[in-house]
Subunit: 134 residues, 2 copies
DNA sequence: CAGTTTATTTAGAATAATTCTTGATAAGCT
DNA sequence: AGCTTATCAAGAATTATTCTAAATAAACTG
């Protein structure tokens, strides 16, 4: 664990909002002005490689990074652009809803929802009310 | 629906193996040698826009395209590199296993598994047997 | 501790998938 | 036929990411 890796990890833990590599770079740069973007990519790669951080992808947008190691899905909000963790319910497994063949071997699964987060969904309901008087 | 769009759509329906844009391009080119890659991208975009085709992304690999309109997940096989459709079980919904807040608005969800497809998983079990005599 | 190997960092070049631009072509209307 | 609009083709441009090479730092070895 080098200084740079620690700084990148701390940036992720300090503000757990699923930043992109460039956002991590900008945050780390305030503490360690000499760090390069390539190093941030290297560190993120190393950290994901040893399982401390997860890379989160949605469509072909830039990868985002997440230090939440529990099993969870992500909600990508069309309103605010934010990403929200969605926990797995207790004692539930993906195969409860997905018809996986018996003899497959699952090493990883990634789930993303797109829509509106609670905040944006309620704000949106205000703007376009359906059954409500002023 | 232009000739090009039809040709791209036919290429997807003819061999439903989740090809990339370049693979679609190569297939269509045999029937319509003048088509350009940009047009394939345009057509795929148009077809996904009107809901006839789904774009499938996994990590930051090139997008793949899928004409299966039923709700399903994808298994990306580390062994053969193939992609397999995994159907949703009857009367099951993502919120059965994911703890979604009440007031979110879900517009789309994408699920991908990574691992070994049945064929590769059994082949792999042969090569590295655990409890089996020769 | 000097010398040597090994890993890491940096800056910038290279890559690759996708998108954009521009001019050409075709299709639909009047 | 003439005008408008959408689509296509070719290649340039964009962008996130990876690679390269040189510099630096860390870790051993004697």
């Amino acid at each position: 664990m080098t200084d740079q890796r620690r700084a990148v990890y701390d940036a992720l833990m300090g503000q757990r909002d699923h930043p992109t590599a460039v956002e991590v770079f900008m945050r780390v740069k305030t503490k360690m002005p000499t760090i390069s973007l390539a190093t941030v990519y290297n560190c993120l790669e190393t950290l994901t490689g040893c399982g401390l951080v997860k890379a989160v992808n949605h469509d072909r947008e830039p990868s985002r990074y997440c230090p939440n190691l529990t099993e969870h899905a992500h909600l990508f909000c069309d309103g605010c652009g934010g990403v929200m963790d969605i926990p797995l319910r207790a004692r539930r497994r993906p195969q409860d809803i997905w018809e996986l063949p018996d003899d497959v071997c699952i090493l990883q699964h990634e789930v993303s929802f797109r829509g509106l987060c609670p905040k944006c969904a309620t704000a949106d309901a205000q703007k376009a009310p359906r059954s409500r008087s002023k």
